[in-house]
């Protein structure tokens, strides 16, 4: 691997204007493949979900998955695209063993959806509009395992093994128009775009869009042009950038690398590049020596699609509230800033907070628990908030117990601890661990009397009017009750006993 010289990000931006193009592949969550009835279940035995169609056996004929088409149209509509009145599939011919047919069924010059946009909100609340060139339907490839090389890489491998379970799973490829005017915020915009697109896909319910599972994958195209020049520079295409953070890093790295090459009087080679998660760099993959020649031609085994206008309008009317609008509404309802909403979104907490509020909690405490204690726990466990073994209803119950004074925050954290440890619901944990706030006057009164008796000097000060000194006695009560006392009530009792006014 050659060492790549970089120009500092600031210097790169001082000399050049970055232009981006983002291609996102979304694996649809359909029950079956795009052109055959094979199941799409993850984790199945190798080659147990294939048939003559997806294996490309002679004479097999594909039939289009209706749900796949519907999902594509809905994605197109959510991205404000026009929906084609008539379009076809095309064969993209290439020789690579990940497709047993030697071609991928895709769409070429007749995408089902085209010419749209997606508004994305940046950290500071600014909204940036990303143009959508097209969204088209295609199919995923099989999974290769390379044997004999170092760490499973294709380089140096003696042979490869293919599992075609994934071959034929519906993909929607969403391509942006060239993103210009991003300037220094290009990496942030790229990340925000992929994040917002993921939200849209999830809101539509067409895919879980989990990047770590490869259900949403991004190819990042970057080019630089000197400020003031109209014509775009030569682009590089960094393939399979598979986390939001990596999207941001890949754009930043490529800007710095291109600037170094250009500053040096060199030329950017049009090529595909690989992103390296461990250090955020990219390295050269395959140089595109000639314009790719996939010999696209209309797929003769499938008839054209002509989405009826009435059906398209029906799908449009059935679209859910789009995520950006929904977040704006929730922001209003919860009374929080754009930045706070962004934190909730980044933490994957928005839906959880909504569900917790629906279960009866107020928005402030729902946000507090999910973004505080629970976010910390998820982080420690290296998992998502949604994967924590606690439900929004349980969090709402904890919030309710705090609101009615049965728990204080410290005890509430112990209750959450118990729920996460599988000890049952909040009420079970309160019961089993004996975590109720001690507000029972008898027990609390006894603790107060003990605290006064044990601290005569402090008690004397309070009697003499130094009300602030009562804090030490409250502390003693809390200690004696292992934090389970209602501190406010304890303070009242102390002042009452010592004849001081609050």
């Amino acid at each position: 691997m050659t060492v790549t010289d970089l120009v500092s990000y600031e210097d790169a931006l001082a000399s050049y204007d970055p232009v981006m193009g983002l291609e996102v592949h979304v694996e649809l969550g359909t029950a079956t493949k795009m052109f055959c009835g094979c199941a799409t279940t993850l984790g199945a035995e190798p080659n147990s979900q294939t048939c003559p169609v997806c294996l490309g056996l002679p004479g097999a004929l594909p039939v289009v998955n209706a749900t796949g088409v519907e999902s594509a149209v809905r994605i197109g509509l959510a991205l404000h695209c026009d929906i084609a009145e008539w379009c076809r599939f095309a064969r993209k011919n290439y020789f690579y063993p990940d497709m047993p047919k030697n071609f991928q069924t895709s769409q070429y010059d007749e995408p089902i959806a085209f010419d749209g946009h997606l508004d994305v909100q940046l950290e500071d609340g600014e909204v940036f509009r990303v143009g959508i060139e097209r969204a088209h339907m295609e199919e995923d490839t099989g999974k290769s395992t390379h044997i004999g090389g170092a760490t499973g890489r294709i380089h140096g491998a003696s042979h490869s093994l293919l599992d075609y379970n994934r071959a034929g799973i519906p993909l929607i490829e969403i391509v942006t128009k060239p993103i210009t005017g991003a300037g220094a915020r290009a990496p942030e915009i790229a990340r925000a775009y992929v994040a917002e697109l993921r939200e849209v896909i999830r809101a539509l319910g067409v895919s879980e869009a989990r990047m770590e599972m490869g259900q949403l994958r991004c190819d990042v195209n970057v080019s630089l042009r000197p400020h003031g020049r109209e014509k775009f520079g030569t682009r590089s295409e960094t393939k399979n950038v598979n986390s939001l953070r990596s999207v941001e890093r890949a754009v930043r790295f490529e800007i710095q690398r291109h600037a170094a090459v250009l500053d040096d009087g060199g030329v950017i080679v049009q090529e595909t590049r690989h992103f390296h998660e461990e250090n955020g760099s990219t390295t050269s993959g395959r140089v595109k020596e000639e314009a790719e020649d996939y010999r696209y031609f209309p797929e003769p085994d499938l008839v054209p699609l002509a989405p009826a206008r009435a059906w398209v309008e029906e799908l449009r009317a059935g679209l859910p509230e789009l995520p950006l609008a929904r977040r704006a509404r929730l922001r209003e309802e919860w009374g929080i800033s754009a930045h706070e909403m962004q934190s909730a979104l980044n933490a994957g907490a928005v839906d959880l907070v909504v569900a917790t509020v629906e279960a009866g909690a107020d928005a402030t405490s729902a946000r507090k628990w999910w973004l505080g204690e629970l976010a910390r726990r998820a982080n420690e466990a290296g998992t998502d908030l949604t994967a924590l073994p606690i439900t929004p209803a349980q969090v709402a119950r904890v919030a309710a117990l705090v609101a009615e004074g049965a728990l204080n925050d410290k005890l509430a954290r112990q209750v959450i601890d118990g729920v996460l440890a599988g000890e049952g619901g909040p009420d079970d944990v309160v019961e089993k661990r004996g975590l109720r706030v001690v507000s029972d006057e008898g027990a609390l009164g006894a603790a107060v009397d003990e605290a006064i008796a044990a601290n005569p000097a402090v008690a004397e000060k309070v009697r003499g009017g130094k009300v602030a000194a009562a804090g030490a006695l409250v502390g003693a009560v809390m200690k004696a009750t292992r934090g389970q006392a209602d501190a406010g009530r304890a303070r009242e009792l102390i002042l009452e006993r010592l004849g001081a006014d609050a």
């Binding site: 294939t50 209706a66 380089h155 093994l161 293919l162």
Partner: protein, 98 residues
């Protein structure tokens, strides 16, 4: 006038991973040129009002419901594979030595 050159045939042969001798190239280029010329005559008949078509049937929107149908067993799927390993299709080295 439509037609195909020897260079274009060589290019297509390479894309299709076909190794052709000079003689074969010459031979096929001539034949393919004749075929293309013959097919091109269709264009003479088709008037302006005849749209290009990729399919002889006047059908659109042929789709199936998203319902799972039985797949082959892995054993059946691999039955005709020239080589297999770990229940997967075994293929020769993809990238040569560099």
């Amino acid at each position: 006038m439509p037609g195909i050159t020897r260079e274009e045939v060589a290019h297509l042969a390479r894309l299709a991973r076909l190794e052709l001798t000079d003689e074969e190239l010459e031979h096929f280029a001539g034949q393919l040129d004749d075929i293309i010329g013959a097919v091109a005559r269709v264009a003479d008949v088709a008037a302006e009002d005849v749209p290009p078509t990729s399919h002889p049937l006047p059908l659109t929107n042929v789709m199936r419901a998203d319902r799972v149908r039985p797949s082959l067993t892995a054993e059946q799927a691999l039955a005709a594979a020239p080589a297999q390993e770990q229940q997967r299709f075994k293929v020769p080295q993809i990238l040569g030595e560099e």
